[in-house]
């Protein structure tokens, strides 16, 4: 009927090819003498032949394959849209957007997927904020990331009067934007970035072939004074002005970055004197 009790698991392991050489030899020796075990092995082998017969394993219907490929393509295109927009638009989440109406029973478990995704995001944020990962590391990482992605800027213009209003409504402060091309630092544009657990504005300048990311956010007393530093081949220069914290990150020479800071601060001073 079945294998002898003390060999039942060994028999499974033998059938599945999961025994090491020593156990395999021991069990094969046992099979020579145990009728019950060899009969059980034959029974299980027959069962396996039936289960593994062609056709038992499901193949995905072509229609479903096309539907899933379409849903993946849409998801990839939709990637830039935020989840909140997506969920606000379609109650119940993305299954609804996937080519045929979702049944009502799906809403709770699809939402649980959204919760899981949110948890994953939180875990990621917490990971980023682990002790030992400093603001400087984050700034350099953001700078490097901005060089890798195809769009270094969300708003691409050399016009300071376009860049500055673009930030309005996107961040809760108004970063100063100056055109510095006369001094050899042309304005490229601006984008939103995420540093130190908050949304910051990044103003992008160029110095010959080099990119300078200028990160700006409201200064807080908790932050340490900005000391020029160098990390992974990138230079950082920070300063504080008008209640805002600035960090310029680039691979240009440290002296050039200092000059950039001087220019920027001088413009800010002029703007203040002009009674802006």
């Amino acid at each position: 009927m079945s294998a002898c009790a003390d060999h039942e698991l060994l028999l499974q392991g033998y059938l599945d090819g999961e025994l090491d050489a020593a156990n395999t030899m021991t069990f094969e020796a046992h099979l020579q003498t145990c009728v019950a075990c060899s009969a059980e092995l034959e029974r299980l082998a027959a069962l396996r032949r039936r289960i593994r017969a062609p056709g038992v394993r499901y193949e995905v219907p072509e229609q479903l394959r096309a539907r899933i490929e379409g849903a993946l393509r849409r998801e990839m295109v939709d990637d830039r849209r935020t989840d909140s927009e997506e969920r606000g638009r379609i109650p119940g989440g993305r299954v609804s957007s996937a080519g045929r109406p979702a049944r009502r029973v799906f809403v709770p478990w699809v939402l649980s997927g959204a919760v899981a995704a949110l948890a994953a995001c939180l875990a990621f944020v917490m990971f980023v904020r682990l002790p030992g990962i400093t603001i400087s590391d984050e700034l350099v990482a953001s700078h490097v990331r901005s060089l890798q992605v195809t769009h270094i800027t969300d708003v691409l213009t050399s016009d300071q009067h376009v860049v500055k209003p673009w930030f309005a409504g996107k961040v809760a402060f108004s970063p100063p934007v100056y055109e510095l091309s006369d001094a050899g630092f042309p304005l490229v544009g601006g984008r939103l970035d995420y540093v130190g657990g908050k949304t910051v504005s990044a103003i992008v300048y160029r110095r010959r072939q080099h990119v300078i990311n200028l990160f700006v956010w409201p200064a807080s007393s908790a932050e340490i004074a900005a000391v020029p530093s160098r990390r992974d081949g990138y230079n950082l220069v920070g300063w504080r002005q008008g209640g805002l914290q600035f960090w310029a990150v680039s691979d240009v020479d440290p002296l050039e970055l200092q000059r950039f800071r001087g220019l920027f601060m001088a413009h800010a001073g002029d703007a203040a004197r002009d009674g802006e």
């Binding site: 999961e18 394993r57 499901y58 995905v60 490929e69 849903a71 993946l72 299954v95 979702a102 799906f106």
Partner: protein, 166 residues
């Protein structure tokens, strides 16, 4: 990133679909489960750290299946007492029933679907996906010894089922 995800995971569409069919035992639900699994996989692709892509995907499919069955059946599927289950109504009354008696394939599939969880998923991963104990242990989150004893139980139930129906 787009094409890379598809290259890595679309080859396992059959595996994902098969597991969903056997765990959910509901053809229409399996469609939605597999689609949701692929979308979840795409969204979590950033957390994929190499390793066997099929195992990674199947773990997601499995979670989707259980999320689905929780939402549909409530706590009903919690107590599994290792006895063969009668098929849920939607299976025996559904359009597939007429086919079930006809072919050997449908008979074997029905036989597997009568297995209770967690024996059913373990058997499907081993016999149809031909995964190793180690891979099955990772996907189902139990020690390898448990995988082995679940397989023993699943096979025992199946051979008993076969003899009774002979």
């Amino acid at each position: 990133m787009g094409p890379r995800f598809e290259e890595l995971f679309l080859p396992h569409l059959d595996a994902a679909y098969g597991l969903a069919r056997f765990i959910a035992r509901d053809a229409a639900a399996a469609d939605d489960i597999v689609q949701e699994s692929f979308l979840r996989a795409l969204r979590s692709f950033g957390t994929y750290r190499g390793g066997d892509t099929r195992s990674w995907l199947l773990a997601i499919v499995r979670n989707c299946c259980f999320d689905w069955s929780r939402s549909v059946r409530g706590a009903q599927s919690a107590g599994t007492d290792a006895e063969l289950e009668s098929l849920p109504d939607e299976c025996s009354d559904g359009p597939e029933t007429s086919v079930v008696r006809r072919g050997e394939i449908d008979e074997v599939r029905a036989m597997i679907q009568r297995l209770p969880e967690p024996f059913r998923e373990t058997l499907v991963l081993r016999e149809l996906e031909e995964l190793s104990y180690k891979e099955i242990a990772q996907i189902t989150g139990v020690p390898m010894g448990t995988v082995m004893s679940r397989l023993a139980r699943a096979r025992n139930l199946l051979t008993r089922d076969l003899e009774q129906r002979r």
